[in-house]
């Protein structure tokens, strides 16, 4: 790898100032950055580790089962958290799909999101959890809803020096589920990812959220499909319509992994399937 300067700041303000300089990169778990540096596709002049800054990791649950996850929390911890598994199943399932256990023990949820890959495995779960992203810089703090964070592949609304500090997941849906379409059972990247979350009240869908990964330049919510479901009693026909609406919301590309057409078809299939699982969980 190319030579670089390495910093280990102990405060967010210091980290933000360093990160605001040109050709600076943040180091969280390093599972994307270090590989890129070794391959010379990432050639930062300075690398700023977030590891010595206190209070950036950990999962806390509040009284109405809202959950806060620090940005430096290891993906493996998200995957194994009983509270996340119970209240935000789709997110725990997404976390369990990243790389290998060794990688998940290094990778952080903040890194997975800040890298802004449209195919990130935790993003669909965060979308259907309606996560609020806390962002800090030397100038202060702000909060952005997860569905407004991304602007393109590898691109976010984060400004110079801004660092993601935590994700707040408000009160949970009663059932959610994530499916990753892939070839290899483990250690594969998502051809597409779909998460669905539902709230049921007396057999009627009160609320539905559908998150789609790797089917558009950014991760997206399938809002038309969600609106179709709201206030309805779930039936196979209704799920069929939701699947088709979700597929219509997708604008995928064809690449070496598969064609755009296949991605669209799988959005349809997996939206229905994740909704079925989510509804099943909601009625349990």
């Amino acid at each position: 790898m190319k030579n670089f300067e390495y910093f280990e700041p102990t405060t967010l303000a210091e980290a933000s100032r360093l990160f605001a300089q040109e050709h600076a990169q943040l180091l969280a778990g390093g599972t994307d950055l270090v590989i890129g540096m070794k391959a010379y596709t990432e050639t930062p002049q300075s690398v700023i580790s977030l590891q010595q800054i206190p209070d950036l990791d950990g999962i806390t649950t509040d009284t109405d089962n809202g959950i806060t996850i620090g940005a430096m929390t290891k993906v493996r911890e998200v995957e194994l958290s009983e509270d996340v598994q119970e209240h935000h199943t789709a997110l725990a399932e997404g976390a369990s799909e990243i790389g290998s256990i060794q990688i998940r023990n290094l990778a952080t949820i903040g890194g997975n999101i800040a890298h802004a890959s449209p195919a990130a495995d935790t993003v669909a779960g965060l979308l259907v959890a309606d996560a609020q992203v806390s962002i800090a810089s030397a100038e202060g703090e702000r909060t952005v809803p997860i569905n407004e964070l991304f602007t393109g592949p590898g691109q976010t609304v984060l400004k110079s020096g801004e660092i993601i500090t935590q994700f707040h997941l408000p009160s949970p849906a009663s059932g959610s589920h994530y499916i990753k379409h892939k070839i290899r059972e483990v250690m594969d990247l998502a051809f597409i990812g779909v998460a669905s979350a539902v709230n049921l009240q007396n057999g009627v869908i009160k609320d539905a959220r559908i998150g789609l990964a790797a089917v558009a330049p950014t991760p997206i919510r399938a809002t038309e499909a969600e609106n179709l479901l709201k206030g309805k009693i779930p039936t196979p026909e209704l799920l069929q319509q939701a699947g088709e609406a979700a597929a219509a919301a997708a604008s995928p590309i064809s690449d070496l992994r598969c064609s755009a057409e296949h991605r669209k078809e799988m959005v349809d299939v997996l939206t229905r399937r994740t909704l079925r699982y989510a509804l099943d969980r909601a009625t349990r």
């Binding site: 030579n3 010379y40 070839i183 290899r184 070496l256 598969c258 078809e265 299939v269």
Partner: protein, 767 residues
């Protein structure tokens, strides 16, 4: 009970401890004092004229000690491209520097001016007369090269409604160029026996299809690496990760015009080979040239990306195949036309197309095969070169015939298999081989005869044949004063061959396995040995080891006769001692005592020598059965059961043999389901393990191995080569299982979810 005490036993490998403790020396562990780091400068285009190569900026970079181009190759043999590059990643120059990052930076500083040319990556596109000509007009005029369009026509005149649109389109296209010369043909091979026209005419059922098999990489764990050191006298030492040190020695000598014995090749522990580790110019020659120029040892080590760009993978191919059979199940005729993707150079196992014949009595057969140039790296051997591709076509089509005539696929195969004494189309007669035994064994072990399948589940069967190679080798064995024995030889251990050799020597000398050790020499010290590929080692070196041990036994008995004052006829070697058969009370002398005694005799120490070159080999069969479940909505396939049997002749170490069967089967599964080198407008687009998928242990269940032993007359203890056969049937096994599960015949590998969904949609399935 076995009549043997050491061979036939599941004994731990001789190299187990050094491997698990990390003590084994791989190429990357070699670090002579003052070593420099080499880096190869590669083409950034898949097809381009080279206008200029400017090394001046790179030369100024501190730490750079040598830069070489084709101008530095005194023999003029092509090591680096000069006027034209033919594939992405083709070497243009190389640098050596004091640090790998400096070498990397220097490589980037070498300025190359390209004139980009049109690229052709597909064999079907490449054979059209309008395709870009890779080697200009310099095509050799083969006897049949003007007749490609008629060959295609010959095979396309049936009414069958199949999915061979590519071939049909090509036929229409080539019609226009019937008398043209086809420029990108690198080689051809034609075989004919009987009369296929007559055979098809007499058939009740004729099936034809076109099969597309992708180029795949051997994906050995250790990328190519070599360390070269040229000393002031001109003597060259090369530490090479290779399957064949002696072939590397002669390869370097020939390429650079250096006397053979001025080169010493030290084979380092091999991190997998699979046939892909015989290349001379990939890293070895550049390392030697850089060392000669810099006067320092130089290591050239490929990255995984370089492996995909400039390794020598297995060729992909397109096979048009047609088979005719009677309605009671007799195969009457088979005809194939194959286009093998040989990349920028010739040589793509096109002769293996004849393996569409399989182990069946097919009276009429015709095969026409062509090697076709494309803008890709050249190809090399990969575990039974060419066989998995041809057998995929042949065994897929057999199932379609069985289905059409309503016969069980196993019974259909059993009925058509050749038997001992049957005429072999290429000449001679069939030896005793366990074809039927092996297929029956896998069917019984898998529960084929009372198989059950839920919705979207299916069973597939296929068989593949392969015959091990043979080659020269030499072995010495010495017996020491403590009664132990030491083997010395020059062959690279490949998946346990040193262990097999050790077992054979221990068996003959009647001493415990633990008391025999084995050491590999370099090309300066060891007797010549053939390369460790083509499943040759256990056959060749096993026979050689036997001869060496028998030679040592002769000397042992001679010494015992002298020491015990009795005729050799009265002596017997057993349990590590020579016993006088008729003595009462018993009388014996241990090997250790004899070894000590030998030192003061006229005849001298106990040294057995074995030297061997060749004996006819016997074919081996691998038969496999898979049970799969396909998700018809997502197209994903899960393997529920995978059973593999193999006629190994005799398993010298059954544990190692099972490992080979499992490994080959998994590689075949991977080729069927996920592996594929993909090419875009400018060459390979998946040069890494993110998008070139090899399976993990989570992808398939434990392979159940079934060993069948029908001895090979010339194999040591009846052993056959076991490494290659198990990969040969798996591609078709998987496709046949998927077909049985969901009723769609996938003819284009790998069987990716998208293709399954597409095929089901064409069949009317709605997700």
């Amino acid at each position: 009970m076995s009549e043997y005490s050491v061979v036939g036993q599941k004994l731990p490998r001789v190299d187990a401890v050094e491997k698990v403790t990390g003590a084994a020396q791989y190429g990357a562990d070699v670090h002579p004092a003052g070593m420099l780091y080499g880096k190869i400068v590669r083409s950034k285009h898949a097809h381009a004229n080279i206008l200029s190569v400017d090394t001046s900026e790179a030369e100024k970079l501190p730490g750079v000690r040598a830069i070489i181009t084709q101008d530095d190759v005194p023999s003029g043999r092509r090591v680096f491209a000069t006027d034209k590059v033919l594939y992405l990643g083709e070497p243009l120059a190389a640098v050596a520097a004091t640090d790998p990052d400096i070498a990397e930076e220097a490589a980037e500083l070498i300025k190359i001016e390209y004139e980009v040319l049109p690229v052709v990556q597909d064999v079907i596109e490449s054979i059209k007369p309008s395709a870009p000509r890779l080697h200009g007009d310099a095509t050799k005029d083969g006897p049949n090269r003007r007749n490609i369009s008629s060959k295609i026509k010959e095979l396309s005149n049936s009414e069958a409604d199949d999915n061979s649109n590519e071939i049909r389109k090509l036929e229409a296209e080539l019609e226009k160029y019937a008398d043209e010369v086809y420029y990108n043909i690198s080689a051809e091979s034609h075989t004919e026996a009987g009369d296929v026209k007559k055979g098809f005419a007499e058939s009740d059922v004729v099936v034809e299809d076109t099969y597309f098999i992708p180029r795949v990489h051997q994906t050995y764990m250790e990328p190519h690496v070599s360390v070269a050191s040229a000393d002031s006298s001109g003597k060259i030492t090369v530490w090479a990760s290779t399957q064949g040190p002696f072939a590397i020695r002669s390869g370097i000598a020939g390429t650079l015009g250096i006397p053979l014995t001025q080169i010493n090749v030290i084979g380092t522990t091999m991190g997998g080979g699979f046939g892909g580790r015989f290349g001379v110019i990939i890293t070895h020659v550049p390392a030697v040239l850089l060392s000669q120029k810099s006067g320092r040892p130089v290591r050239v080590q490929m990255t995984r990306e370089e492996e995909f760009l400039d390794g020598r993978p297995a060729p992909g191919c397109v096979i048009k195949l047609k088979t005719g059979a009677t309605k009671d199940g007799h195969i009457l005729a088979r005809q194939a036309l194959a286009f093998w993707d040989s990349g920028s150079v010739s040589g793509a196992s096109i002769g293996s197309t004849i393996r569409v014949r399989g182990v069946y009595k097919i009276p009429n057969i015709k095969v026409d095969a062509y090697g076709v140039h494309t803008n890709k790296s050249g190809t090399a051997a990969y575990r039974a070169p060419g066989a998995p591709q041809a057998i995929f076509a042949g065994e897929s089509q057999l199932d379609d015939i069985a289905e059409q005539i309503g016969m069980d696929p196993v019974k259909f195969r059993l009925m058509n298999m050749r038997e001992e004494g049957d005429a072999v189309p290429a000449g001679g007669s069939e030896p005793k081989v366990g074809y039927k035994e092996t297929l029956e064994a896998v069917a019984d072990a898998a529960g084929w005869w009372d198989r059950e399948a839920d919705d979207n589940q299916g069973w597939g069967v296929a068989v593949g044949d392969w015959t091990n190679g043979c080659g020269p080798g030499g072995v010495y064995v010495s017996v020491h004063e403590d009664g132990s024995a030491r083997i010395f030889h020059g062959s690279m251990d490949i998946t346990g061959t040193d262990t097999a050799i050790t077992q054979i020597i221990a068996e003959i000398l009647t001493i415990p396995y633990e008391n025999v050790t084995i050491r590999r020499g370099d090309t300066d010290s060891a007797p010549y040995s053939t390369g460790s590929g083509g499943s040759v080692v256990t056959f060749t070196m096993g026979n050689t080891a036997k001869l060496a041990a028998e030679d040592a036994r002769r000397r042992i008995l001679e010494l015992a006769s002298e020491r015990l004052n009795t005729n050799e006829d009265n002596l017997e070697l057993r349990d590590g001692a020579v016993h006088v058969i008729t003595a009462d009370p018993p009388k014996s002398i241990s090997l250790g005592e004899l070894a000590a005694f030998s030192l003061s005799t006229t005849g001298g120490p106990i040294v057995g020598k074995g030297s061997f070159a060749r004996q006819p080999s016997t074919p081996a069969l691998a038969a496999q059965i898979a049970k799969v479940e396909v998700d018809p909505d997502t197209g994903r396939t899960r393997v529920l059961k995978l059973v593999a049997s193999q006629d190994v002749g005799f398993a010298i170490n059954p544990m190692a043999v099972e490992g080979q069967i499992e490994g080959g089967t998994v590689q075949g599964y991977a080729w069927a389901m996920m592996e594929e080198m993909q090419y875009g407008e400018n060459g390979n687009i998946n040069p890494g393990f993110v998008d070139y998928r090899v399976p993990t242990s989570a992808d398939l269940p434990t392979v159940q191995s079934v060993i069948v032993e029908v001895p090979a007359p010339n194999g040591p203890y009846g052993a056959k080569g076991v490494g290659e056969p198990p990969i040969t049937p798996t591609l078709a096994t998987m496709a046949n299982a998927v077909n049985d599960a969901i009723g769609v015949r996938i003819t284009e590998l790998p069987i990716k979810p998208e293709k399954v969904v597409e095929a089901l949609k064409n069949n009317g399935h709605e997700a």
